[in-house]
Symmetry: C2
Subunit: 334 residues, 2 copies
Amino acid sequence: MKIVIDAFGGDNAPVEIIRGAAMAKSRFDCELALTGDIETVKKAAAENGIDISDIELIGAASVMDMHDEARLVVKSKRDSSMGVGLDLVADGAADAFVSAGPTGALLMGATMIVKRIKGIKRPALGAVLPTLTSNTILIDCGANAECRPEMLAQFGMMGSLYMQYVMNKENPIVGLANNGAEDSKGTELQKAAYAILKADSGLNFFGNVEGRDIPMGVSDVVVTDGFTGNLILKTIEGMGSAIGKKLKSALMTNTVTKLSALMLKPTLKDFAASMDYSSFGGAPFIGLTKPVIKAHGSSGASAICSAVRQAIDWSSADVTQAITEHLSGVSEEE
Amino acid sequence: MKIVIDAFGGDNAPVEIIRGAAMAKSRFDCELALTGDIETVKKAAAENGIDISDIELIGAASVMDMHDEARLVVKSKRDSSMGVGLDLVADGAADAFVSAGPTGALLMGATMIVKRIKGIKRPALGAVLPTLTSNTILIDCGANAECRPEMLAQFGMMGSLYMQYVMNKENPIVGLANNGAEDSKGTELQKAAYAILKADSGLNFFGNVEGRDIPMGVSDVVVTDGFTGNLILKTIEGMGSAIGKKLKSALMTNTVTKLSALMLKPTLKDFAASMDYSSFGGAPFIGLTKPVIKAHGSSGASAICSAVRQAIDWSSADVTQAITEHLSGVSEEE
């Protein structure tokens, strides 16, 4: 198995990306490749004492900048570290692609170059979030701001199969994010999507889930349009960060709290890590013929390493096949 | 000034509501009245040792149940503790109404009985939330699931005037909840609302705010449709609750953590209180001729007491007048 990583995507590229790739190489049994300017990668690795001797370096002449128009990755910047990576996966030379580069460009590039699974209306960005009890996938969390009901229904199916095949969750519970628990809640979009999800016998559809149910882990899949999903995801990130800061300042109140905080250091460190919702690997872009993972723009080495592990798990599981089978089952039923 | 409280609204009615009213009476200088079955209120107060001698009791023959259709409050259940309270405010016999009863019924009843300010398309539910630095009003957080751009623009104006007049915030910063910071983000609704908000010279419009900006306190007002707002609000509540539970269990790990937690008890108690996002008074229903406050369904005595204080602050401030003036200013400009 070979995973390709965009060495020039994100705020901390290339050093943290290279460091994350080296970390992944030392931990997981798979081939890794980095795309980008080879001399710059070699120099950054040498200067920072990162061993990349077992990682393949694949040349790319440019970089997708966050100010670039997304569509450039398909055309004039096809030679970018992102475009080259996507082409490698599309051509079958690699199994999955990880990038912390600009979201819009990655989604458009992946859709145009790696291409959708036949029958999938729109690929969707999932975010696997820790909950009080386990974890849940929020899908779509940003790829499709405006959705039709059938798209939401497909997001539910794709999220369910991802949780089952990649996260090993048996018979995942699927919830529809809504402004109330009753069947009749939501806008026309939710009402119509509810009916389609409920009618799908291949899904373990729970019904509507409210905002507070998401961090509590009421369902394993939370289905939503990309506009609402993006706001939910980032609100969760912001709450984690704001509460972490509040706790830190509360513990600095006086000598007693400072002493106690010192005694609690390892516990609080674990706790703080569990609140950093931006560090949980990457967001799988589901519905394409091959795995593409969007790592957070602020990813450090360990987030990149997590994203690579996720890419390996995803590539090992036969999700694409399962989605294809589900789609043919649905069309046979129709 | 007289504030009327629905004695039979919410999960903890009537005892906690009566207790909250008595708490408010002892703290604030204003007249209070409770609506509901007088004998039941007297009995509950006596059994729980609550002094209600200075609180007026106003009889109401029925109660709006959470399973009742919302419109009943206007017709066959006009004699409910909610309907009677709304009529008192509409008739000018009281200045503001507080209820922890069913949201749908309260919103419909308030709109039909207390009525909208002339020119307001739709009243909106605000939620004043603590942020890392201060607080912010999320508006609409649940009254209008489907919105038009002009409605969102009015929510921004009403939220801004509420923060200015009731929360004493000078020149409040208004943000539009969106799936990205750039001007071009969002669905057609956000794009159109953005243009109207930006053109309103009476507003301190910041531009788009993302989910993570909300708990960080980037803006004093967060404008959103009621569907998205409800999901954001409840996600914030759920995160507060989930993180509080996580921290509690982390502190129970071993003897050292338990000891430290004991030393930190007062600090952690304050911290836990600051995480209970459901206890911050009530949600003002803005755009009506008189103040109506929706208290959380799970309100205990102190939440009711906070909601009463909010009703007093709101009644003392001339928000209705300010909204009316803003509306006439806008129509003159047109």
